[in-house]
């Protein structure tokens, strides 16, 4: 089997990997932002429950979360597809990480800015939208980028529920050919995806580089 054939075969798994990556990002960044407000909010019971969620999500391996979500729901009689269940696990897991990153970002904004805004007569919502969020986004971008790159690699975990992602397809090909070349090709794919992701992150960071302190 030639190298071109291997790449063409692996491309079949690219769809699942990219879809999982993109949909997880699109869902968990906004959810993480909302979650950070629960963490910083004044509602004690909500905070308590949210903290338990954070501990569980960040304290257990994602591979087990994927496994439990899929088999747990299906054994309980809630029939959910492999992809949907993997996506749900990933969104729940990454929301926890993103929410902690946003919390750190929001807390790093000086109290004085809130006071200044309130003296100038800006409403709370306006202060958040026009003053806090633009700064927070710039502050958290490097940590966010780290997680995004991690997410690309974490998608490889879904082969545990037999989703045909990049790694699963490469693994099957490797078993058929009795050769590890397909796995090397898979590594090249992940590297290429992350090269693009890093490039995009750099572009965004550059764009956010106005009024740097």
């Amino acid at each position: 089997m030639n190298i071109l054939g291997t790449f063409a075969e692996l491309a079949q798994g690219l769809g699942v990997t990219l879809a999982l990556f993109a949909l997880t990002l699109v869902c968990s960044i906004p959810l993480g932002f909302l979650g950070s407000h629960v963490s910083l909010g004044k509602n004690k019971p909500a905070k308590f429950i949210y903290n338990i969620y954070l501990v569980v999500m960040r304290g257990t391996p994602l591979i087990l979360q994927v496994l439990f979500m899929y088999f747990g729901l299906n054994l309980a009689g809630i029939h959910i597809g492999r992809f949907e269940s993997a996506l749900l696990s990933f969104v729940l897991n990454y929301t926890a990480y993103f929410s902690e990153i946003f919390r750190g970002g929001i807390q790093s904004i000086n109290r004085g800015q809130y006071e200044a805004a309130s003296v100038l007569g800006l409403s709370k919502g306006l202060t958040m939208r026009k003053i806090v969020i633009p700064q927070v986004f710039k502050i958290v971008l490097p940590s966010l980028g780290n997680e995004v790159i991690n997410l690309v690699k974490d998608t490889a975990l879904v082969s545990i529920i037999a989703l045909g992602d990049l790694l699963k397809i490469a693994y099957s090909a490797s078993m058929r050919e009795a050769n590890i070349m397909p796995l090397v090709a898979a590594a090249v794919f992940y590297l290429a995806i992350n090269a693009v992701v890093s490039l995009v992150l750099k572009k965004i960071e550059k764009r956010m580089n106005y009024y740097r302190i």
Partner: protein, 288 residues
């Protein structure tokens, strides 16, 4: 610039969602006409409280759970299509019954969970019959003979099982080769070290690199890999243990089990089964 980026992103998303959510490989194309004999069988059984076969005949398909990285029983060709002896046999059975075989790739470690949670209707992919498994699932009668063998490099000094004393032996973790060694107390005690690999290919690579001395594996799997590299390895004449492959069903699905076994024996009579076996193994290894 921004717009172009946005459009690009949205289209990537749309395409990937479409690809990602595409249904898993399904066996047949159009719903075939159900075989009346099995429809009747299903209705009979349903009267007695077992509607497993009736459900299959009504739906027009049964779901086969398989490991798609286990050549030659079940694996993917270069175009990503599922193929292998068990796959073709399952498809032929489905055709005989007038239903579709919906082939679902699963993770082999979670096969019994997949069966129990109803994601698949049967485990059919070089599934060795063992007492432990018989307790968990409704195991069919054996449908083919197999055995556990030892593979060594062609130039190895190991010629018999006794020569394995003090040597490093590789096996696939969770495989029946692992159990075969454990069951052979004398051998288990004499070998130097047993190393459990995730799969047979990495285990074989370790043997080829000289890190381990031998690989214990299913004969059908050994034959598949040895055919790829005929001069590199040999199979010891002395074998570990004979074993048989079966099909695993849910304990409650007796009617479905009976129907599949009946279909198999009818296919034995008309020669379909022997033909498939000849194609994959060069001889008839079926035992039903």
């Amino acid at each position: 610039m921004k717009k172009v980026l946005l459009i690009a992103l949205v289209s990537i998303l749309a395409v990937s969602v479409f690809v990602g959510c595409a249904p898993a490989a399904s066996g047949g194309d159009n719903a075939p006409a159900a075989n009346e004999e099995f429809v009747k069988m299903g209705e009979e059984a349903a009267k007695n409280g077992d509607d497993s076969l009736k459900n299959v005949m009504d739906k027009g398909e049964f779901i086969v759970g398989l490991d798609d990285s286990f050549p030659p029983m079940g694996f993917r060709d270069e175009d990503g299509n599922l193929t292998g002896f068990d796959i073709e046999l399952a498809k032929a059975v489905a055709e005989h019954m007038g239903v579709n075989a919906n082939l679902q790739a699963i993770d082999w470690k979670a096969k019994e969970l997949e069966l129990e949670s109803g994601n698949i209707d049967m485990i059919w992919n070089g599934y060795t019959i063992t007492p432990e498994r018989q307790e968990q699932v409704l195991m069919s009668e054996p449908y083919m003979e197999n055995m556990q063998v030892v593979v060594v490099p062609a130039d190895s000094s190991i010629k018999t099982l006794a020569d394995l004393a003090g040597k490093k032996v590789a096996v696939q973790d969770g495989s029946s080769a692992q159990e075969a060694i454990a069951d052979n107390a004398e051998l288990a005690a004499s070998i130097g070290e047993q190393i459990d690999f995730k799969d047979n290919v990495t285990a074989l690579m370790d043997v080829s690199s000289g890190q381990t001395d031998a690989l214990a594996v299913d004969l059908v799997v050994a034959n598949y890999y040895l055919a790829k590299d005929p001069d590199k390895y040999v199979i010891l004449e002395e074998t570990l243990s004979p074993e048989q492959y079966g099909i695993g069903f849910r304990k409650s699905d007796q009617a479905l089990h009976d129907a599949i076994m009946q279909a198999l024996s009818e296919m034995k009579e008309d020669g379909t089964a022997a033909e498939l076996s000849e194609k994959w193994f060069g001889k008839d290894v079926t035992t039903f």
